[in-house]
Amino acid sequence: MELPVQTFRVTRADLVRYAGASGDFNPIHWSDRTATGVGLPGVIAHGMFTMALVGRAVAGWAGAPDAVVDFGVRFTRPVVVPDTDEGTEIEVAAVVKEVTEAGLTRLDITATCRGEKVLSQARALIRTPR
């Protein structure tokens, strides 16, 4: 079963706010000079910010803020965030792989930015929504 796609807009302001809240002040997430200096196309989102957005999507599908039992991803491609009002967008989709008798649901998740997958092996185990 496919779950409804959820879309998240990401701007530079979001990255600055996430840096402050998470304590991850790596300059590749706010300085174009640093990002391009290490060979990136520009400032990229924190992988953990992308994962947090996917976590929101999972909570949305679960219908509860505390339903996640296991949650893992592999970061495969950076999310480049241009210095514009629009920033960029991350689309999060999922399919239900399994509903167990123990009341758990296994999701396989896809996250894309500009049509390209930014995560692989993204999976969550949630308590099955009632």
Partner: protein, 149 residues
Amino acid sequence: MSLDPSFVGRTYPPTAPYLVGREKIREFATAVGATDPAHHDPEAARALGHPDVVAPPTFPVIVTMAANQQIVDDPALGVDYSRVVHGDQRFAYTRPVVAGDELVCVNVIEDVSSRGGHGFLTTRTDVSTVAGEPVVAVWSKIVVRREEA
């Protein structure tokens, strides 16, 4: 870069307790756009059976990333942090983190390998309360990119 595989299995001493603040959970939830009242309002969290506001699922990375400095700063292992990119991340929860938790981390190096000149380091951080109640196990794989010639 080449990391020393003899570090596999190494366990580090427990970290100093991290007290999870209600305002920190609210700040983090706001930063990731998590608007569910259980992240912000203690009454809403209590209605779900939690003692105080509930952290979003990736919140523990605040605690474990700080704890992992034990490993990346270990001069004997020799990680060049300026070359580190995040590979994988996983959380396995016994229960969600809530405000008021005092969390202690124990870091274990689960895997060290090298491929194509890149170093790969997988750590598991067992996060429990100061009373010894397990809360979440957190796996993180980092890639230490090779130095360009």
